[in-house]
């Protein structure tokens, strides 16, 4: 440890910064926080709430003060305390690898046993099911965004196609869940191809806006095609899934069995909830397994190659359109599966469930998790969906906190929570990479 002289904390600068922050906050909050529009009999009027304004401004100034103070303290640390960046990042990389290796099986074991835990009541299992739905959607979108590198802002459209497919097939034709599920996936995939075909030659952000537009188009059509989708009223009375033909009901027609009577159990409404939980767990794990395997197939490698360098892969004979299209379609297929699950779980679908905000949430789960990281998606889904679900009692503040959380995580960890990505291919006789510590030593 070297003895670097401690610089004094520069208080005048900190205070100045905090005052400036307070002043800006005053400008920002003066009207929107300090005043509220009210309806007076004679037209619109205003009501002041200066106390709120005062609190907001003071809170901003104090917050800035604390941040600046922390920064000064960190800046004044002796150099030896800082830790060298190279060895630091190397360590955290291997830490993440270890984390991923051991935590994944633990998480799966936990997920499998969750409904049997003593604390698992209906509420917990319900939230877990919701989180798993988003995990599955995140994994599905990860194929498109993480592997194929295509920015899709309208992913929820395919989710909607899946949900409406099952809803219509079951209510109009009386098809069962298990028959409709693959069909819903196929339909969603064909929609993916339908959209992808004209637009996949667009680059980056042009593709993003077209997918965003497509998502809106699907929603608007669902909303207005009254004879087919029942418009804003949605489709209700969607049949619940059955356990291989055994319905989860208290009373069944004479001569047939329900789930509980077949297994000689007492009827409980929890059976269906737990069954739905395992169903989505199975679907999600299937998505994960599929992704992990397809990365090792030629098509998966072609996706990643295209993502890294389109020109190089084109010159190596990869057909970019077909490759991107397959990625788009497969991602859409998983959204379709998740959509049918959503429909059967809710028993009701309406266009309201498929707004842009859903696409944004799914995309943020993928990006916040660290693009391409499967475990990261789980962490982000638990944090975002589970976290905001816990605050449901604060209904109004929930989405506010959600937005702030998204910004905060991104600023704190711009590459996502778990940004480490296992290389797909490793040469067998690849010499050991120089250890990060060694690199650090050489640098210093």
């Amino acid at each position: 440890m070297q003895n670097t002289p401690q610089r004094a904390v520069n208080w005048s600068r900190i205070v100045k910064e905090s005052l400036v922050a307070g002043l800006i906050a005053l400008v920002l909050f003066f009207e929107l926080v300090g005043v509220r529009v009210v309806d007076n009999p004679g037209g619109l009027g205003l009501r002041s709430r200066w106390l709120w304004l005062l609190i907001a401004v003071v809170a901003t100034a104090v917050g800035r003060l604390l941040l600046a103070w922390r920064r000064e303290i960190l800046n004044n640390r002796p150099v030896a305390d800082l830790g060298l960046t190279a060895s630091d990042s190397g360590k955290s990389d291997s830490r993440i690898q270890i984390f991923t290796r051991y935590v994944a099986p633990l998480l799966i074991a936990f997920a499998l046993t969750l409904p049997m835990m003593p604390f698992a009541n209906r509420y917990i299992v319900d939230i877990a099911t919701l989180v798993l739905t988003y995990v599955m959607l995140g994994w599905g979108l990860n194929i498109v965004v993480g592997l194929a590198g295509l920015l899709d802002l309208g992913y929820v459209a395919f989710y909607a196609v899946g949900a409406y497919s099952y809803a219509l097939l079951s209510t109009q034709l009386g098809w069962s869940f298990w028959v409709s599920l693959p069909l819903a996936g196929l339909l969603a995939a064909s929609f993916g191809i339908l959209l992808g075909f004209p637009v996949l030659r667009l680059r980056g952000d042009y593709l993003a806006i077209v997918t965003l537009g497509f998502g809106e188009i699907v929603r608007i059509i669902l909303l207005n095609w009254y004879t087919f989708t029942n418009g804003p009223d949605g489709i209700s009375g969607i049949p619940r899934p059955s356990f291989f033909g055994l319905p989860f009901k208290r009373h069944v027609p004479e001569g047939t069995d329900s789930f509980s009577s077949f297994f000689g159990l007492d009827y409980s409404s929890m059976h269906r909830i737990i069954f739905l939980y395992y169903l989505i767990l199975l679907l999600a794990l299937l998505t994960n397994f599929f992704t992990l395997r397809i990365r090792r197939l030629p098509i998966g490698r072609a996706w990643e190659a295209l993502r890294e360098d389109e020109i190089a892969s084109r010159s190596l004979g990869i057909n970019p359109t077909n490759t991107k299209l397959s990625g788009f379609a497969i991602g859409a297929m998983f959204a379709g599966f998740a959509g049918s699950f959503f429909a059967t779980r809710q028993g009701f679908v309406s266009p309201e469930s498929f707004t842009f905000i859903e696409s944004a949430v799914i995309l943020s789960i993928v990006v916040l998790g660290g693009m391409g990281s499967q475990i990261g998606v789980v962490l982000a889904a638990v944090l975002l969906i589970g976290g905001t679900e816990m605050f449901r009692s604060l209904a109004d503040f929930r989405m506010l906190a959600f937005g702030a959380l998204m910004v905060a995580i991104m600023v704190w960890k711009p590459r996502g929570l778990l940004s480490n990505r296992e290389p797909t291919v490793r040469l067998a006789d690849h010499p050991e990479e120089p250890s990060p510590d060694l690199v650090a030593e050489q640098k210093s």
Partner: protein, 304 residues
Amino acid sequence: MEYFVQQLINGVTLGSIYGLIAIGYTMVYGIIGMINFAHGDIFMVGSFIALMTFIALGILGGIWLPLALLVTLLVTMVITAAYGWTVERLAYRPLRGSFRLAPLISAIGMSIFLQNYVQLLQGARVRPLQPVIEGHFILMKSAHFSVVLSYMQITIVLVTVILMAIFATLISKTALGRAQRACEQDSLMASLLGINVDRTISLTFIIGSLLAAVAGMLFLLYYGVIDFYIGFLAGMKAFTAAVLGGIGSLPGAMLGGLIIGLIETFWSAYFTIEYKDVAAFSVLVLVLIFFPTGLLGQPEVEKV
């Protein structure tokens, strides 16, 4: 014929508002290559601030109307610009130089935050404002339809044209405009040549927010009804307009805005109002198939 002319007038008015917002998108995209999702919400914030300032002036009373409008405009511009600056400072600047999707997600988060912030503080109800600028010319008259050009529509188009002129001069003639174009081309080189890139980017956000503030105020005066959700819809249209015109191109943004405004108006007038957004997006897809970088966008040259 009369009906057509009327729709043309309405379309150009709507298109002007979209164009003003679209410039904010296209400028930010040009300089840091990110889709500023929160820009539509900045427009919405501007609209609310205009509403509140205008009511406050009304309560004070006795101010000559044009003066009141001018004061409202100035206050709205200042506060909205402060919002634009703060959003950039908090959510985008820390992410400069990180990978491409990070600022996008941060922007989506900011957009959700701003929407709910305004909803929480000002309520979710739609608030109608009494028409402020009333009166109109009658341009053409036939037995059953007369073409009306309201003073408000003239104001909107006039304000847009004036702002465009100022803005074009700013970009092409001033030092700030030069710095901005330099950062657009190569921000690293620009910083080596002594341009403060961070400051230029902040100013870009401020200019974009100023234009959005004006658009927000015009929107409020034209429709009289605003809520916390208008930012999302208008923002999406404006962004579509920016892409249609070729993102990064300033005349393109204005042209795209006009096209989107016209498509929407004509589609609602001659076909079904429910599918006007579908029409706008379909035209976007069609245009992008034939002009992959938009109408006036520079074709991207890929170097290996």
